[in-house]
Structures are given as C-alpha cells and as structure tokens.
Amino acid sequence: MQIGPAELLEVDLGADESVLDVYERHGWGDGLPLNAPTTERVREMLHALGDVDPDETVAVLPPRAGVATRRTIAVNAVLAGCRPQHLEVLVSAVRALGRPELNLRGVNATTHPVAPLLIVHGAVVISGGYNFGLGAFGPGNRSNAATGRALRLILLHIAGATPGSGDASTQGGPAKYSYCVAENIEASPWGGYARSIGVDAPSAVTVHCGEAPHNVHDMESDEPARILDKVASVMCSTGQNNAPISQGEYFAMLCPEHAAVCANDGWTRHDVSSYLFNQARMRVGELRRAFDLRAWAPWEQRLRDDDLMPMTESAGNIKVVVVGGAGKHSSLIPSWGMTRSVTLPVEP
C-alpha cells in the first residue's frame, strides 16, 4: 500500500485484504466491513447534490478540527453504504454538528455515552427511503442504518472522535454505531416537528446529542395523563445528566397510538411538553443529596429542599416528536446536558 496523490490511497485488495483491513491499519473505521470509496463511487454520490462546490467547507469538526467538505462527507457516505439520495441529509446533519450551541467538542470529549441522534423530517423521509414506522430505530432499513453509520464515521474520521484520543466515553454505547430515525409525520396529530419550531422547509434534519432511547410502556391507557405520567417517571432519574444540568433537553418520541390518545383529548404538542414539565419533578433535597456538582439555573439554586424541582428549567426543553408504528411503546431520549439540539433545512 502506498500513499497516493492528494487524498487517495493505492491499495491492493485481494482474498486476504479488504478495505476494512487497510483502514484498520490507519486507525480508521468503526470495526464493521466498509464499502471501497473509489473515485467513481464518490463522484456518483456527489452528483446527487447538483451544481455545488464539492470542496467547500461545510463545518470544521472538533476535537481534530477536521474540515468536513461535501467530498469528505461523500467518502464516508460510500464507506457506510449510503445511496446518493442520502447525501444531502448527511451534509445538512454535518452542518448541524458544526453549530456552536451543539457543543460538539464537549459531546466528543465527555465520559458520558452521548451520541448525536439524527432525526429526518419531511419529504426526504419518503424520497430517501427512511423508516418512520414500525422499528424506526432499527434494525433493517438501509437508509436509517447507513446514514446514521455515515454520521458516526464522519465523527470518527473527520472530527477525530476515536475512543481514547478523541472520545473519552467511559463505556461507549450502541448508539455510537448508528443513530438515525425518521419522524412519522403522517401519524403525527400535530404536524411536523421542524415546522413547529419555525423551520419551514420541505425537508429538515434535527441533531440531538443524547442517550440511547429509554422505553416508555403503556398498553392500556385511554387518557393522556396516565401515559404521560409514565414518560415523566422515566424523566425522573438521578442517573441521567439532566438531573444535575438544568438546561438539558428531553426528546419525547411518542408512538402514534400514544400521540393519538393525547390529541383525541384535545392536547396540543405544547400541552404535552407543559404537562411533562409540570409532572417530571423531584424533591430538591433528593437532588442535592445526589449531586455536589449542579449546573442549575439561578432560580433553581434558590429552591428549598422540600420544594419540587422540574427536571429541566423550561417546558420548551421538552421536545415532542412522533415516531414508530403500531403498538404502545414510546421512548424518551435524555440529553447529555451541555448541548442544544439543532434543526436545519435539508440543503445540499
């Protein structure tokens, strides 16, 4: 193997040598087999973006300060098994990773098992073949799996989030392999999430840096409070970063049947967030016993031990998205804490 001109490697692939083997020697890859990123495949991938500069900087990603261009993003898309129609979603997600409020340096450097969750919204869900229904978090759908995997490969390769030198996560986590889901807008009684926060585009992406999904199970309730009390119960845990960090967001990923129960009773998306804000509370004294280090809002610092404190400082930090198919399991995705989710239009 030799280093070729510019960003190319000349490799001799045979029965005993794969792209995975070559990449492994460089410290690249996620440990799974990789598609060969040949110039033809990368060119074909980039062709899907139309007339744009492939070498324009999309974002500079810490801790390596790696320059993510459309071309380097496309290389990782090929490696992960993406189709060309996934590339604009990936480019938009990388743009979101570069936003300062997302704090990617902290996300990659922390000992917490945080992973950026990519949520796909709008028309591209259908045109890109993303799974928004049964089993939306996986496995089994190429679009979700490959796009999520490509985003992780970009973090490993371009951002340098290699376990040890660039990612200090104590235990790592399965969400760090691939973490992509699509919103089920058809089944959402409140319309799309992106539009609800002012991103009025045909397609959009949200990146939320959080934990793997925590299950919320309710098979029997036909009124909103009984379901949402269980969501609130999952929110009230001292084992998650939201407990000592008041700015942390939660993503409540309601299944269509739970969302329908809420909407049929006249509840809006805002009502759901407000109810969860009101119900997900713990005694301040219990939180103080659990944490000496508390990144709480000033007003929270002044509460008495017997006061009930909300698990996040405002209802706006509780985001509601409809995901999944038939059945009565929702999920809650707590935040790492020192990060804000970013929603952007899908643009090449």
Binding site: G14, W28, V78, L79
Partner: protein, 93 residues
C-alpha cells in the same frame, strides 16, 4: 486487485496546538492550578500543588473554569497567561 480509494479524514482546519517548552526549574516560578470542576479535580490539584510548592518553593495559584464540559473562558486563560509560568490542569472523573 489494485485500486485507488479515498482517505476518509480530510484536512485539518487549524494548526494543532503545540505545548510550550517545558520549564526546566520550578524554583521561583508561579504555578497555576486550573480546576475544571470535575469531581476531585480540586483535591488532586491542590495536593500536587502543595507538594510542588514544598519541594521547589514555587508560588501556587488556583483558578477555576465554570464547567468541565465547556471550553475554558478566555478571561481565565488571559489571567493565567499574565500571572503564572506553568499551568497544571486536565483532570477527569
């Protein structure tokens, strides 16, 4: 089969930081302890600073960042640059 494939990492956008040359003798120097507020960081740094002060006669000063998950504030870095010769930091859980 010989093949040309792309590297996956691309260019680095900014020159990586380079550590300053080591200070050969600590006697008479000022040492800054930068506590990033990780659990026990202050304990470890204070003990380390105490030993160094005892052995070298160096003056030890302590500074804190607001939160370990966010970059150190410019004001703190500027004060450290102005006041001390050596900084000890980088503790984790």
């Amino acid at each position: 089969m010989k093949l040309l494939i792309h590297r996956p990492d691309g260019a680095v956008g900014a020159e990586p930081s380079v550590a300053a040359a080591p200070v050969p003798v600590l006697s008479g120097k000022r040492i800054g302890l930068l506590d990033n507020l990780k659990p026990n960081a202050g304990v470890v740094l204070a003990r380390l600073g105490g030993h160094l002060a005892e052995r070298t006669g160096a003056e030890v000063m302590t500074h804190q960042t607001k939160n370990a998950a966010l970059p150190c504030e410019d004001q703190v870095l500027e004060r450290l640059a102005a006041e001390v010769h050596v900084v000890l930091t980088g503790t984790a859980d």
